[in-house]
Every structure is written in C-alpha cells, then in structure tokens.
Symmetry: C2
Subunit: 326 residues, 2 copies
C-alpha cells in the first residue's frame, strides 16, 4: 500500500506520519511506501519503509505528479489556517479551494479505474453563529470566515466526485486540536492550547477571553485516530453524505483551567495571565461550542480521551516526556 500525505509537515501530518510508521500498516494492509508532501519538504523520518519527501505547491497543479504514482490512500491535510485565509483572500481561495480542485481533478485524470481513498480534513469552521447550543449532524453550512467557506465547498466537491465514482472520499470536521504542541500559528484559536502548553513548560500565557467561553476540543492523538479510521473504514455505509463532524469534548476555558489545576497544580495555572482582547473575543463568539456527533460515533469514530484531564495528560506524555514545570 502506498500512502500519500499532503501537508505532511504540519502538526497533524507529522503525528499521522509517525503513527503510520510505528504501525507499519494501515488497517490490514502493510505500508509498502509513503510520500510526504508539503510546501517546504517535510523532514524525512528514519524508517525501513521507503519514504519520498516532496516540496511542492500543489495549489498550482503540483499534485498531478504525486497522483500519477497512484497512491492508494491520500490524506489531504494541506491548507492555510483561518486567520491567514481571512487576511489573504486570494491566497486562501487558491490554496484551500483551488488546491483541492486540482487534486481531485488530477485523481480523475489518471483514469483506468483508479479510485483512491481520499481523507480530507475539514473543520468545525463550516459552522458560524447563530446555531443551536449543540450542533447536530443535519445543521447547515453557515461559515463566517473564508476558511470555513472553503472547507464547506471542498466537502461538497468531494461528495460529488465520490458520488460520480471518481474517487472514494470522506471529509472529517476536526474539533479544535488541544493541546497543540509547538509554537503558536496564525489561528485565532491558539490561546486554547497556549494556556495549557506554555504554563506546563514553565512559561506565562495570555488568556484573551473570559473563562465562560466554551469550545469543542480533541487531542492530537484523537485527530490521528480519526484519520486512520477514515482511511480504512467502509465508506459505503455513509451513502452520498461523506462529510461529518468528529466527536470531541465541549469544555469552557474555566473547566480547562480547573483540569490543569488538578493535573499540574496551582503553580502552573498561576502562569495564565488574563488580558482581554476585544478582537479575539468577537471572533470566538461566533464559534461552535458543542456538538451532537451521533453519526460519527455510529460509524466508529472515537476519541482517545474521556475528560479534559486526559487531554492534558496526553500532552504531558506525548510531548513532554511525562514531565512538566511544576
């Protein structure tokens, strides 16, 4: 089996790559080779499995050479984040929309019965306020950002191309990933992770919203689990609706901090500084707070965590070698 990961240098891409290499297989099939693509060439992991790393901008038809090698499973994680897509209108449409179209048209162009599994990472940004307290599986696309619009459109395209038998696609809407390791990116959602990650590393972090802000989270470990399941499950059970919201956990910022207190103590939570930011408060007010994800649960998608304490413990175990700055 040949696996292609687009956007492999990103946080989720690297974790997915690592898990696949550790497993040596996807579902019941051994991995014969992997191709890792990103705008900047991903670091080549040390592995007995042959790995090709490719630096390309696939929004300029750069996907075609990768697709010509007929990968069996394609994980499409490549995108620019919401803040950047909002600030740079053309770039957002070029990468987040046209890039996906180039990709699916390149798949279609191969022909000869080639019909790979395509796993596309969509986002809860396809929903914007006002919405019900819990967003169900049949709530409509109401994006309030260009990023959310682009993700919505890609979901619809992948459904249609799948329906036409041109590929075997699924779009999974990831919750906000928490605790996101590494450095902050341009996402306005950064603080949800910053206020956990930085204090655990002995650093101060800024909380720009009030503690009653509620949001929808899953660990990086859960995100990788969703992708692996989407890459192997029988998609026929989904019918023509190949897009759906992934399970997650609805917690308030106050509950996040209480969990951090339980897991790491008051010295750690004392490193969170409250500095309200009206811009971020306004952006976040339009974000989903909670979901009913019955459809995903029924289709076998499960999270790796039961409580937000688990999310923090996963971060300490996977990113900090089991230790934090007490």
């Amino acid at each position: 089996m040949h696996i292609l990961i687009l956007g492999a240098a990103g946080m989720v891409g690297r974790k997915l790559t690592g898990q696949l290499l550790r497993d040596g297989r996807l579902g019941k099939q051994d991995i014969a080779r992997m191709t890792l693509q990103d705008v900047v060439a991903p670091a080549k992991p040390d592995s007995s499995i042959p790995i090709k790393v490719v630096a390309s901008d696939f929004a300029d038809a750069g996907a075609a050479p990768l697709i010509a090698e007929r990968p069996d499973v394609i994980f499409h994680l490549a995108a620019i984040v919401s803040g950047e897509a909002e600030a740079e209108f053309d770039k957002g449409y070029r990468i987040n929309l046209d890039g996906t179209r180039y990709l699916i048209d390149a798949i279609r162009a191969v022909g000869g019965g080639y019909k790979p599994r395509l796993v596309f990472t969509s986002s809860i940004a396809v929903f914007g306020a006002p919405f019900p307290e819990k967003i169900g599986d049949e709530f409509f696309h109401t994006p309030l950002t260009s990023y959310g619009t682009q993700k919505s459109i890609c979901e619809l395209l992948i459904n249609d191309y799948t329906r036409k038998g041109l590929l075997d696609g699924i779009s999974i809407r990831l919750p906000t990933i928490c605790v996101r390791p590494g450095k902050p990116n341009k996402a306005a959602s950064g603080f949800f992770s910053n206020i956990m990650r930085e204090p655990l590393a002995g650093e101060e972090a800024v909380l720009p919203v009030s503690e009653d802000v509620r949001h929808w989270h899953a660990s990086p470990k859960s995100a990788v689990g969703f992708l692996l399941h989407a890459g192997t499950m029988d998609l026929n059970a989904m019918g023509a609706r190949r897009n759906l919201s992934m399970p997650g956990m609805s917690v308030s910022v106050g509950e996040q901090i209480a969990a951090l207190d339980r897991v790491a103590g008051k010295n750690v939570t004392a490193r969170i500084k409250r500095v309200p930011d009206p811009t971020i408060i306004s952006i976040v007010s339009g974000w989903p707070r909670d979901f009913v994800t019955d459809r995903a649960l029924k289709l076998g998608f499960t999270t790796a965590e039961k409580t937000f304490d688990d999310i923090i413990r996963i971060h300490i175990a996977d990113e900090l070698g089991g230790k934090f700055a007490a």
Copy 2:
C-alpha cells in the same frame, strides 16, 4: 439604474425582462438602461429604455466587460440545467461554478467602492434525499447531482463575498417552475409542466411517474416576483446568510391533474398518457417534496398563487391568451 441580466434568453430571463420593461423601474428607481446577456444573443425587446444585447460565454471570463460598465443590479440566471450538468461533468463545473466565480471576481476587480446587488438563482436541487417531509430553513446542503452541488457552492461563495463587502448578494432557491411555457428542456422535471401545458394546447403528454409523486412548485409569475423582491429589498436583515428557499406549493401529480380537471375539464386531462419511466421515477424519488419557508415569508417573499388551479389559470392567461383547447 442600469440592470444586467445574465442568462436573459432563458424562460425566466425573458419574463423578468418583460416585467422590468413594463414597470420601467425596479423598486423606487427608474431603469435608465438594461444589458441582456446570454450564450446566444437574446431577442432585443421593443422599448423606450436603451437596451444592449450581448452574446458571450461568461464562463470564460466573458463577464468582465459587462461588469466594467458597473451595472447597479445583476440578475444571474445563467446556468446549464441539471440533466446536462450531470451528463457533461466538465461543462457543468465550467459554466455553473467557474462562471459564477469569474463573475464575482470581475465584480471585485472593479473596485472603487463598486458593490452591486447580485441576485443569484439557486435551486431546491441543493437538497437530496433522505430529508424530512418538510425541509426547513436550517436543513443542510445534501445535493445528489452535480448541478445541485454547483448551486450549493455558488451560494456559499456569494455569502462569503458579501460578508467581505465585495458585493451585495442574495441566492434564492426557486421551486420547480410550473407551468413552464415553451418546449421541454433537458431537465428531468419537465413532465410536471408537460402534463399541464401540452393537454391545454390540445396535445398529448406523457406522465412517467405515479400520481402520488409530490413536488414543490411555483408559477413563472411567482419566480419573477421573487427576483424583483430580491433585487430591491434591504438585505441587511438577512445577516451573513444570504441564501434561502423560496415559497412554493407542495402538490402531488394527482392533485395537479385534479386541478387541471377543475379548470379545463375531462377532455383535457384525457390527453395525459401514463408511461412509467424507471429512470425518471428513480431520479424524482430523491427530490424535495415540501418545504417550510418561514424565513422567506418573513422577508417579504410571496407567491402569486394560492392554489394549483391558480397556477394553471396564470398559464392560460399569460401564455395562451386566455384560451385553451377544450
């Protein structure tokens, strides 16, 4: 006021043009000039209002010269129909999706505060089965055709471009238009009109489905009314959600025929021949049957008819000069 109609040679386009010329104004503003575009140049109506007719394929950036003249209101009716978009995949995406993107990007490119009203005709084909018996205002996009996918995507694009202040857009999902005058087109929905129009003209018509098939209809007169209202109303009341389903009437084929019997008599209904067509039966089984359109009604959209008898009478009055073949 300068009005541009894209797809002006089509049935709705011609009726809209006629109504605008008869009114001489749109809302409170006099019409100073009109531009009528289609792939084949629309017939130039006789009017004291200056009219330019243009033949262009605006899916190949042909919209830019029309937009450069800065029309105040643009009615975008141009599309290929569902059957054709399904049979010709590339053509459907080129005209129904790329064409709209060229259009909105041409609007954006004008700059200098140019922000025209854009009225886009979407379709109930954005919904496909399974759905509730009555589809509400918050049901999600579930197209089962490429045409419905393309309309869904255009709705999302127009919402985002409007949110970004690049235009002042609205997408209205028209019910199936009945009684559609003229000749059958490639739409699989053709029989809903054929079984009314042809018998009234003294011709036989084929009914390919059973009489219990229920569907969502509005007269051409109502469609023109929706467009005029969308062209003049204050869209700020809609917030970021500039896409919505129009009012209509849910009737079964049996109820259509009963209405035809009441209005025109048994000699006319006897011209309907039952010839079941498994392909059409299958296509139609995935189509919406009924809607709750509270949002449109609240925003002032109203139909011209109260019963299906009215729909038939509108056809006899507007298309047959008040007479039919008894």
